[in-house]
């Protein structure tokens, strides 16, 4: 694995290397190098299996982290490649030419995070949400409570009770004191 990383370092700049386990590494690279790195790893170093491609929202840094998880069947090592992209104009190179099934992840990321992958097949089709008009829901600034209050409504005729008081009035009314202070009558 060291040799693979050294060979990669000769080609591009690697910002950080984390060795999490004997069979799991994470490296951080620049956004522009992703295609070069992935094709090099796939064709030269035998990292032929793309396990997943996912995003993490770092809203405080205004960045999205994209993780490409590759696997090498020969040395049996997982390698996660991390790339940081801007959150505002989030756009990334499509890798569907390297792995045909990558279009699926890219289509999902477009819908749930709003990251665009120009040229990726069917990237604009809706994946799990049909007719969604809000901001992409997996972004951290999406307010789930506000959305559900706005979209759904309370069924008429239903009242909400404070559980503590309700229990005290309904269930423990025979007790002299509330259950909080212990059942002194026993």
């Amino acid at each position: 694995m060291e040799q693979i990383l050294n060979r990669l370092k000769q080609k591009i700049e690697i910002k950080s290397v984390i060795n999490k386990r004997a069979d799991l590494y994470f490296i951080t690279i620049k956004k522009e190098h992703i295609e070069l790195v992935l094709s090099h790893l796939k064709q030269q170093e035998n990292f032929t299996h793309l396990a997943f491609l996912q995003a993490v929202d770092y809203i405080e840094d205004d960045k999205f982290q994209l993780t490409y998880m590759l696997y090498n069947y020969d040395i049996k090592v997982n390698l996660g490649i991390k790339v940081f992209i801007d959150r505002d104009k989030s756009e990334m190179t499509s890798i569907h030419k390297l792995w045909p099934h990558a279009w699926q992840y890219q289509r999902e990321l477009k819908e749930l995070f709003g990251i665009d992958f120009p040229g990726s097949p069917r990237v604009d089709e809706s994946f799990v949400l049909e007719g969604w008009e809000e901001i992409p829901p997996m972004r951290r600034d999406f307010d789930t409570l506000a959305y559900s209050v706005k979209t759904f409504y309370q069924r008429p005729g239903r009242t909400t009770n404070d559980p503590k008081r309700y229990m005290k009035e309904k269930l423990y009314k025979n007790f002299a004191k509330s259950p909080e202070s212990g059942r002194n009558d026993e």
Partner: protein, 399 residues
């Protein structure tokens, strides 16, 4: 290929006059020509494996185009997990997959342990291995019934689901729950094995083997099943990497990839286990590979029952879970489910809540990219069998 067969089919050309014209490997479909019909299979249909729909364009009874539609089962688990504490997440993750929830529990718990730097006790590892294999078995039994049922052989489905119920009884003894167990909490397992459990489990292994003997005779030696499944949905070895295929689907095409052997976890290195591969690549080979894996799983369960230590700790010491802050970091933990590599990618930012939890299921690519490719040129009646033979599990697609 032999020379004879090559000569025989040299000048053979299928009569495709009724089928659409092909251009660059894609069919030109003009719905106004009245040659083609749109047909929806699912989302509520006995022939689909859960709530997903396949939008078919058919010509006669041949599928010329298939498009999958998901979203009928989206419960937003990954969003829910972002807003919950680590211990609250643990009760949700198992609900991602109904037939096989334990793989989720294991991957999530191990990811949290890894980030927090907790080592779990020996006995907990053994119990986890047992639990994982039992859940694999239950899921395989359900699949076997589904595969037979999708081809119109309902009796086998009743046998296997009945047998699965006995295994669920054991799960109930062990964990308290039949379907969702919530058993492997971060730090170990919740309870020790009950008294007499090992004996009852051993007895059930024997019973299951007897049932499998019947199934082999009636399912795998059945001329109709063979004629329907052979040459259906062939996955070539080149497709395996291109489409991210894993698990029995990949092993039936000759790819030697089983997480239990490639990247051993828990107590698998101490067990006698061998990779099962085959070269056919069609639905029947996949069924055979899975059938052998059921036997392998039964074998492993017997081995684990023999080796499991009688006494020992089952829980490591963990901090107060209500205010548990996990150090910053990220990890990817994977395990072998019945469908293949199943993993959890957990990112922590040093707070009480996970920054991101992503669940990688094998069906994600197998049920969309691969199915859309393999369904073309098959008959409508074979689609259900094809979906089951890929072991589609829609909950993994839309977590």
């Amino acid at each position: 290929m032999s020379r004879i067969s090559k000569n025989k089919y040299d000048n053979f050309k299928a009569d495709r006059s009724k089928f659409p014209q092909m251009e660059n490997g894609k069919a030109i479909i003009d719905l106004d020509s009245h040659k083609f019909t749109k047909l929806w299979q699912g989302p509520q249909h006995p022939g689909v494996t859960g709530n997903m729909a396949v939008e078919l364009t058919i010509s006669g009874d041949e599928i010329v185009q298939a498009k999958t539609h998901v979203g009928y089962l989206h419960r937003g688990f990954e969003k829910l997990l972002e807003r919950r504490k680590y211990i609250q997440c643990f009760t949700i993750v198992c609900r991602i997959c109904v037939p096989e929830p334990d793989t989720n529990e294991y991957c999530y718990s191990t990811a949290v342990e890894e980030l927090a730097g907790i080592e779990i006790p020996e006995k907990a590892k053994w119990i986890r291995t047992l639990n994982m294999e039992m859940s694999r078995l239950a899921s395989f039994l359900m699949w076997l019934g589904g595969q037979a049922g999708s081809l119109g052989m309902g009796a086998i489905g009743q046998w296997t689901v009945g047998m699965r119920d006995f295994w669920l009884d054991l799960f109930e003894e062990m964990t308290g729950g039949r379907i969702y167990h919530m058993y492997m909490i971060p730090g170990g397992v919740r309870k020790d094995l009950p008294e007499g459990f090992i004996m009852r489990a051993k007895h059930l292994v024997v019973e299951t083997r007897k049932l499998l003997f019947d199934i082999e005779k009636s399912f795998f030696n059945n001329a109709i099943i063979k004629s329907r499944l052979k040459c259906l949905g062939i996955i070539t070895p080149e497709m395996v990497d291109e489409y991210g295929i894993v698990g029995p689907n990949a092993r039936a095409s000759g790819k030697e990839y089983d997480v239990r052997m490639n990247n051993p976890y828990l107590k698998y290195p101490e067990l006698d286990i061998k990779m099962i591969t085959s070269m056919g690549g069609d639905a029947f080979t996949r069924a055979e590979v899975r059938y052998q894996e059921i036997h392998q799983t039964l074998d492993l369960i017997s081995q684990i029952l023999d080796k499991i230590p009688e006494k020992g700790e089952i829980q490591a010491k963990i901090p107060n879970v209500v205010n548990w802050k996990i150090p910053t970091g990220e990890t990817y933990v994977k395990a072998e489910s019945t469908r293949g590599e199943h993993g959890f990618y957990v990112v922590s930012d040093g707070t009480k809540y996970p920054r991101r939890v992503y669940n990688r299921g094998a069906s994600y690519t197998q049920a969309i990219s691969v199915l859309e490719k393999l369904a073309v040129n098959t008959s409508i009646s074979d689609l259900a069998g094809l979906m089951v033979s890929l072991h589609t599990c829609p909950p993994e697609i839309e977590r």
